[in-house]
Subunit: 345 residues, 2 copies
Amino acid sequence: MRDLPAGSVDMIFADPPYNMQLGGDLTRPDNSRVDGVDDAWDKFDDLKAYDSFTREWLSAARHALSDDGTLWVIGSYHNIYRVGSLLQELGFWILNDVIWRKSNPMPNFRGRRFTNAHETLIWAAKSERTRYVFNYESMKSLNDDLQMRSDWLIPICSGQERLRDKEGQKAHSTQKPEALLHRVVMASTKPGQLVLDPFFGSGTTGAVAKRLRRRWIGIEREEGYAKLARKRIDRVEPLADPELLEIKQKRAEPRIPFGWLVERGLLEPGTVLYDPNRRLTAKVRADGTLVCSSPQGDHHGSIHKVGAAVQGATACNGWTFWHLNVEGRSVPIDVLRQKLRAELN
Amino acid sequence: MRDLPAGSVDMIFADPPYNMQLGGDLTRPDNSRVDGVDDAWDKFDDLKAYDSFTREWLSAARHALSDDGTLWVIGSYHNIYRVGSLLQELGFWILNDVIWRKSNPMPNFRGRRFTNAHETLIWAAKSERTRYVFNYESMKSLNDDLQMRSDWLIPICSGQERLRDKEGQKAHSTQKPEALLHRVVMASTKPGQLVLDPFFGSGTTGAVAKRLRRRWIGIEREEGYAKLARKRIDRVEPLADPELLEIKQKRAEPRIPFGWLVERGLLEPGTVLYDPNRRLTAKVRADGTLVCSSPQGDHHGSIHKVGAAVQGATACNGWTFWHLNVEGRSVPIDVLRQKLRAELN
DNA sequence: TCAAGACCTGAATCCTGGC
DNA sequence: CGCCAGGATTCAGGTCTTG
């Protein structure tokens, strides 16, 4: 990081290692063994060693970060208090801490503690008075027109998204979900800005940055992970239509925010939706809004607002109005909400 | 706190002040600053002053706390990283951090940040290896028979519960909801134990402790708040029915040795047991041990020992591992223990 | 082919008492 | 303190197997 020109980076996302102690094996109640994190890069002798490591990378990050840039750090109770304390000492100004609530955390097998169901992100500016980027309206749109809160419910990375090696084993022990990085990048950068991840790992930050048309730099010590990340990011297509990335204003309604479908990957930005008669089309944008051209003119906004506008009506339930092509059949997007709602219950 | 006998307190709940107005040292008037350098030094001084205040009360708390006691601290991003970092340095061992998710937080008015919708609690033991209290089954019951997670959704204190003065103004600016303290006290203490709150404020900790039949001590510098808290707690009635307080705890149930099943005739010597996949068999002997021949060799000993041996594992719960044929169905031998336990009650 | 159920796994500071 | 043995303990989501 020290090699980067001073102040050249617009946003930093960092997931520093933190394993200070490796106990014996943890087994599940059925006696199967939990495949924990035991990578060599993840070991520290004591608090002091961890603190100097942390101070070092944080000050390098501070050097690389532009004056108006922001820093995100993610961690758990093992390390986040040390990181947060040190970044305050280095002059960073905490804007929020954000809780990543995991919908599917690993249970506590011994019944000795609360299920560890979250991780903490700290979002900080370089100092108290800076003009940092916060795409307030995008966040609000992603949250169905309610202010985005500091607690985010997002599943851990598993299934198809999880990178695996030839033997089907997870390729990286702490791969972050793209939905998390989507929200981070959307919140605190503009298209074209430069994002740095100093602990690149499987490259989730780069993959999301590339898709959202941000520039990115990843630093990774392990050549194996670097290769993995390169391969992964090569397959990512930047969103083609710059309009889909435009940061917008205003939107409409309730329960499961439509934006979550986008974040969660149930709906790709750019997906085409149809009205019930298949006369009109609308495109899904990255912030969970739609764009639609109709004989009456162009419309953009929430699924509800655009649905109403193209009908010349005052109200519309976008969930039942807009349809999706699924294997040749037209299906209301509400099925995705139901799917997501089921997942989140 | 220093006046309390060392190790006399079973649990501490602390909501330390953090507005940087603790006495003269921490006061930071909002006067204009000369330049950035002064600003940085100024800030450093503030952090330093807050840190010494924190180190002081934390070490006093450590002195008062019994070796098997636990400490809870609640805070926000302004101070929680300093508190967490310092308590680690003092030797406390973090068990969980817990997120209090507010269902009704104050919105962010200026739209420059995420809505600050949570506070953080740190739960810590006095050191790494202690026998702290955690009422696992109580927490599980509170959560619809699912393990209690580290994120708690609880509304802020308002309405009837909020203490008000004669003019109808809130009597204390940071009154905590009793639901929050209820969960804290229920999780980490037993009835009759001693709870200390060194920043007593409106006395929520005392009110809940009294109702749940814990003993309590409150420390409060402001006489006005102390008076308020006394009045409030005087009106609280301890729960009359001890059963309401009873902590459902499987661990406290009488231990039933496997051999008793044989002694009591619930299991005949010579009975054949099976592993869950019905690949292996073991025979019950008159002394309550098993004999088992497996591809890896012969084994003899307790149900747990033999179960572990045949799996090549280091541990095994024999009660759930070994099965019995009952009318054609395979049933874990634990059902016999339950039967005997019922007979013995 | 489909539905039901078995099986696998995820950043985890994960037991306790007696000798 | 170390060692040993008894015995208590899991949720959600995705994939695979079976009928």
